[in-house]
Assembly symmetry: C2
Homo-oligomer: 428 residues x 2
């Protein structure tokens, strides 16, 4: 049986689990991949650091470049830009295959890595970069290879899903549930990347690239976070049989692919509405397959390691027997759709002076912008002050440009006291 | 570019869609597979039958054997045992690859087909046989190749899920919702195979074979249908925050793999509880990945055709470039666990005479069988007659044998008037 040399870069939460599985399950991995996977070294900054898992000390090295130069397969779990980027380029350039879970790096430099891999015949795989343990790369590339994907919607950030789910269950405010998420270790001390949607945006770029076989990067993604979602928004959604989720959405439109991340209202019967806690899920619509969903743990040491090892076995199988090239050879430049052209529907909550003619003025403005109303509700959950009425409008699908203009014109009406929330609605 | 000859056997609901996609999307399929996929003929019983899709008449033939003998790839969508079995054997024996969605045939003869394919180097793929469009074969074989699956639970029959979901939504009786399913075309005139669980059992055998890399057949599956589920069962479950689903379950136990199909209570927060209508979903537990779920359309012409074409492209890619052998080479004889040894928990509803000491007698019987009680509820949904109390017991996990013996002993108590229902509970 052939032996393949595996270099591990990084030994944090995920890296330690990958090392453990490579050592503990060596026999199973050899049986499944057709080659002995020999862990030849683990590059770390400090060899003396204590790890969560017992690993033979002789495996640790601080010389990552020398380690990369002797490997057939390089598993990069350092995170961040450097030295991860240089080490991946070094590996791919000499024809070593690379497995990485580094979403920020992939979103920024993925297309360049693809070219390097293609030129040297190396394999580049990154199932772990999107939605942790959930198999999504291969189902899209393999299982849906005879179909055409039209839309992908994903809950791809566990921290924000935990917070929104907790707000939905308890009725508490965003700040309180963020604090709880931090206490439980679901959110970091600086939660910016999660709650502002930046982490989800990086994953959206990768997902869109896979689903539509084009190269998207972070700059192509319209991004809004969840910091402005109030307990009142969540309660009003609940009252309407809906739930608020932070979704990464990539969709084929009239003149390209639109990619966006924003808080989104979904009916409670939608499969994504049932994704609780820190779990992730990717909902896919394809021409023939219809609606599919892939659900699982989006983070965590062992789950992410499972995805890394799945990639490792796949890479090893191909190194042993030869076989089809991975998806990356198919990438083409992206045609990014202008955000203003994306079709969506709006949920608008506002408080207005309770006087004759207000409703007529508002419905006239909506119609004037070519938008049609699905439901208009007077009352709702909020308590009304004297002479103030609460309104909730849900529109049919229209362009972002028309909807934004509608909201702007409504907000300028003298009778409108406040636009309390504007949220997008997805699903049927 | 290489040309691969594709023979289609059968032109029913799925076959017609496969033919349409092969003809309409020929360019996309060639680009993705690296070979031109030429549909050389469609074997049908009667060439004059009207089809749902416009297909050039010259493609139809009644000589299936001659068609198989000229093909590189044979797509079998005839259903039933013969001539499907002989034609698949004929194709595999001469080294032609086979794609089939014939679950009943695979459950009965899959192991023999695997041997034939392995010997001739042909590929055998059957993603469409389990849960229609849902990618499950490849995620299990590829994505989880670095992990160990411990349990698979699936909603794999759309008809019974439609009926149970409708009972849950409307509160109606089984017979009424079966009639509605028949009217809407979700259930056949003779619904036996669906409502008795036989269709789900065939899929359970295939799923268990994939997940545990062993050969199971129909005889290894313990099977109970949904015909005895009453509106009262559904209402009581709802009252307890649960829902009843027909699940196919394959699980690694102490002394082998247990495979079973039966109505199952799940908490409403469980991801499988959110699978509505005729949709299917497969829930997978793996040692490192944790909980995963795959959701989608379990039947229908176009969705099933999507899975068939995904397999076709994968087979073509390997015929063009070479590559790893499919999963079938890994099959080993199954170690089937005795049903009596399977660990599960029971939900027992019963009516008892409202007299002192009854509760004590029952809890003593339960304890005597080594079973422990999770909840005991007096009252519940049913209206009580004079002097009759309704009890509901949910047990912790124990063996089937101990639980069945417990129910038998309880039923023999003089104070017990009726055991109204016994259901198994899954999920945490």
């Amino acid at each position: 049986m052939k032996t393949l040399k595996v270099a591990l870069l990084g030994c944090g939460n995920v890296g330690a689990q990958v090392a453990r599985i490579l050592l503990e399950d060596a026999e199973m991995l050899a049986e499944r991949s057709g080659a002995k996977l020999e862990l030849v070294g683990i590059a770390v900054r400090n060899t003396a650091t204590k790890r969560a898992v017992v690993i033979p000390e002789g495996l640790f090295t601080t010389d990552a470049e020398a380690l990369v130069d002797q490997a057939d397969i390089v598993i990069e779990l350092l995170g961040g830009m450097e030295p991860a980027s240089s080490l991946i380029r070094r590996a791919l350039s000499r024809g070593a295959s690379v497995i990485t879970g580094n979403k920020a790096l992939l979103a920024a430099q993925g297309p360049e890595f693809n070219v390097l891999a293609f030129e040297s015949g190396a394999q580049l795989r990154y199932e772990a970069a999107v939605a942790g343990a959930i198999p999504i790369l291969r189902p899209i590339y393999d299982s849906l290879s005879g179909d055409t994907i039209t839309k992908v919607m994903g809950i791809v950030n566990g921290t924000t899903n935990f917070i929104l789910d907790a707000m939905d269950t308890t009725g508490a405010a965003f700040a309180d549930m963020l604090a709880e998420a931090q206490e439980l270790g679901y959110a970091e001390a600086d939660p910016t990347a999660d709650v502002q949607g930046h982490d989800a945006a990086a994953k959206a770029a990768i997902l869109a690239s896979l689903a539509f076989q084009t190269d998207f990067d972070l700059a192509d993604v319209h991004c809004e976070g969840i910091t402005k979602i109030t307990a009142e928004d969540v309660a009003a959604a609940k009252d309407a049989g809906m739930v608020i989720k932070l979704l990464a959405i990539a969709e084929r439109g009239v003149n390209g692919i639109g990619v966006r991340v924003h808080p989104t209202l979904l009916r409670r019967t939608h499969p994504l509405a049932a994704v609780h806690g820190a779990f992730n899920a990717i909902f896919v619509e394809a021409e023939n397959a219809g609606e599919l969903m892939f659900y699982g743990a989006g983070a965590g040491g062992a789950p992410t390691a499972s995805a890394v090892l799945g990639d490792t076995v796949a890479v090893a199988r191909r190194l042993v027997t030869g076989g089809p090239l991975p998806a990356i050879a198919l990438q083409q430049p992206a045609k990014v759709m202008d955000f203003a052209d994306i079709a969506t529907s709006y949920w608008i909550s506002l408080s207005v002076s309770d006087e004759p003619g207000v409703l007529a003025s508002i419905t006239e403005i909506v119609a004037h912008h070519g938008v049609s109303i699905e439901t208009l509700l007077q009352g709702g959950l909020s308590e009304t002050e004297d002479g103030v009425a609460e309104l909730r409008i849900v529109t049919h699908r229209s362009t972002e440009a028309a909807l934004a203009a509608t909201v702007k014109t409504i907000s300028e009406l003298a009778a409108v006291q406040e636009i309390t929330s504007v949220l997008r609605v997805e699903g049927n």
